[in-house]
């Protein structure tokens, strides 16, 4: 197991700048996640770390050693691809044994290691069959077994669970997390699904357009997003974000839009355009009017077990709230919203960076 350092990575494909100065490090034994929309540069980064592509500029270090000049066969990096890439003409056993056979391990040891890994991933019963007979989840486990068998310094998983059923994805995510804990394997997982990332990772790097935006533990990313992008990317539904004018006053600051005006007891230096943020679970719905409340109309109700996701319309704006299913709501109903100060975020409208809380 080893640490991974990615320094100032640049990569261009034709006219597209895929990576623009990407920079991050992964600790030894850590479960690290690259989180970003499709096309953000996750796969490119992985391919460079594995050695399948060369960066235009920048360095990769694994365990402190510079890897740039070392061919992929010798980097001791394993990767599970998005489309799994099992050898279709070999049985599950042979697939998993392949890396060891290449290194001429004695057959007895190969057999033992394969059965250990198969036990860990609960696939011992299907090793004799060919990949095309496996279900989606089984294929992925075999791919993970193949990657883990030689105990690589780094294990890269590129969106390893796309295209599995929602329930199976969640199970596999939990299993993978447990596996990583037990083996202490350094893992880097790339995904566009923040729920997966948050469920598994020790730390997450949010990537956008080939640049790192914020790297932090999952709860910090969720509770203290550095930019509006991070705030809306994590969360389903994402954070409500509204543009308004911030006007500082003697007792606090007034935030105004054509539809409403809100005051909060926080100090800003000068008048500027800002983006207010509040997460749907913190927006409160009241059935009766009271001073300072925002009037809104219930536009869409989506039931979700004991909760509901409600779309609320204020003129051209739509705010989303998550409330208990006990609250009696009907379509078209007028309700009043309060925006609790303790869950308020303020971002600068131009830089999109968080101003408050600091």
């Amino acid at each position: 197991m080893a640490s991974v350092e990615v320094r100032q990575l640049y990569k261009r494909y034709g006219r597209i700048q895929a990576l623009q100065g990407l920079d991050f490090s992964v600790k030894d034994g850590e479960f690290f996640c690259l989180l970003g929309a499709p096309g953000a540069g996750k796969t490119t980064t992985f391919r460079i770390i594995a050695g399948l592509e060369k960066p235009d500029r920048g360095e990769i270090r694994i365990g402190g050693e510079l890897m740039n000049a070392i061919p992929p066969q010798q980097r001791d990096v394993a990767m599970v691809f998005e489309d799994v890439a099992l050898y279709p003409h070999m049985s599950g056993f042979d697939n998993i044994a392949h890396p060891l056979r290449l290194r001429r391990f004695p057959e007895a040891e190969i057999r033992q290691r394969v059965s250990e890994v198969a036990e860990l991933l609960r696939i011992s019963h299907l090793l004799h069959r060919l990949p095309h007979t496996y279900s989606g989840g089984e294929r992925r486990r075999v791919a993970i077994a193949r990657a883990m068998i030689r105990r690589p310094r780094v294990l890269l998983l590129d969106q390893a669970f796309t295209d599995l059923d929602a329930k199976i994805r969640q199970e596999m995510a939990a299993e993978l997390k447990r596996l990583q804990r037990e083996t202490g394997q350094t893992m880097i997982y790339a995904t566009h699904d923040f729920e997966e990332a948050v469920a598994m990772a020790d730390r997450i790097l949010v990537i956008r357009d080939g640049r790192g935006i914020q790297v932090d533990e999952p709860h910090a990313l969720y509770n203290r997003p550095a930019t509006t992008f991070v705030a809306s990317f994590l969360g389903s539904p994402g954070m409500n974000l509204l543009r308004c004018q911030a006007i500082p006053g003697p007792e606090g600051t007034c935030f105004s839009r054509s539809e409403f005006m809100l005051s909060f007891p926080l100090r800003l230096q000068e008048e500027r355009e800002v983006i207010l943020g509040i997460r749907p679970e913190h927006l409160q719905i009241h059935l009766n009017q009271f001073p300072g409340a925002l009037e809104a109309e219930v536009e869409i109700i989506q039931p979700l077990g004991l909760e509901r996701i409600v779309d609320l319309r204020i003129g051209p704006l739509v705010l989303k709230a998550i409330v208990s299913a006990d609250l009696p709501l009907r379509l078209g109903q007028k309700v009043w919203l309060s925006w609790p100060f303790e869950h308020l975020f303020v971002f600068d409208a131009e830089t999109e960076e968080r101003i408050y809380p600091e």
């Binding site: 594995a50 990767m79 691809f81 489309d83 099992l86 003409h89 290449l102 193949r146």
Partner: protein, 288 residues
Amino acid sequence: MSNRIWVSWLTRWGIVLIVSLITLAPVIWVLSLSFKPPQEWLAYPPTLIPRQPTFENYLVLFWPGNPVGVVSEMVRTAEPVTRAFLNSLLIVPISTALSITIGFLAAYGISRFGAGGNFLPFSVLTTRMFPPIAFAVPLLVYYRSLGLIDTHLGLILMYTTFTLAFSLWMIKGFIDGVPRHIEEAAILDGASRWRVMFTITLPLIRGGLAAAALFVFIMNWTEFLFALVFTSRFAVTLPVQVSRYAGAVGRYYGPQAALGIVASIPVLVAGYLIQRYLVRAFTFGLVK
């Protein structure tokens, strides 16, 4: 409802049967003719099954002067086809194997590394862009100075070169169909490119290679023009021999029919041996 299905089934098989009969009719006729004694060659009304079947037509091909029967009287002066048969059996498989091997190596380079850029892969096609006769004249000059006329090596080189376009492009198509990720997974496992090529890519395109090999084999086996121009005695191949035979013993339909059958046998055998690879290629299904 099931009536409709029954009717469409009947129509389908009916068409298959009719088309097969039409296509195979000449072959069946030749087969029957090859076992007929001379008196039945032109008999009217024509029969499918010979009344007095004989192997003499076949025997006479390899041993014209044989003392056995009537036919040998007629064709005593002809050349035995043994030499041409053996030449073909030597030259064609070797050049097919060479063509496929070189084609595979080149196709891999082009598919995975973009070898030759935009120009080289297409330039290989020039060998098929002109009528073969256009190449024959300049090649004749080359061959004469190299001493390759009427040699096995000469024909092998020529056949390999001119079928390379097919091999390369057909195989490239199959290699393109192997997902890159599978090879990259092997690389990360620690395999060198050569290993990947032979233990991963090759097994996955076995069917494609078999199809290409069969195609090239047939092309080489039936190739006439270059064989005619560049051989005279030693390296004569079967197609040339057939044409000579026809010239020499024109009216002797029986032996000619037998020769036709004999010339087809190796191709049929090759096709039979390869067919299970052809089927496998389509059912393997690269796993998604």
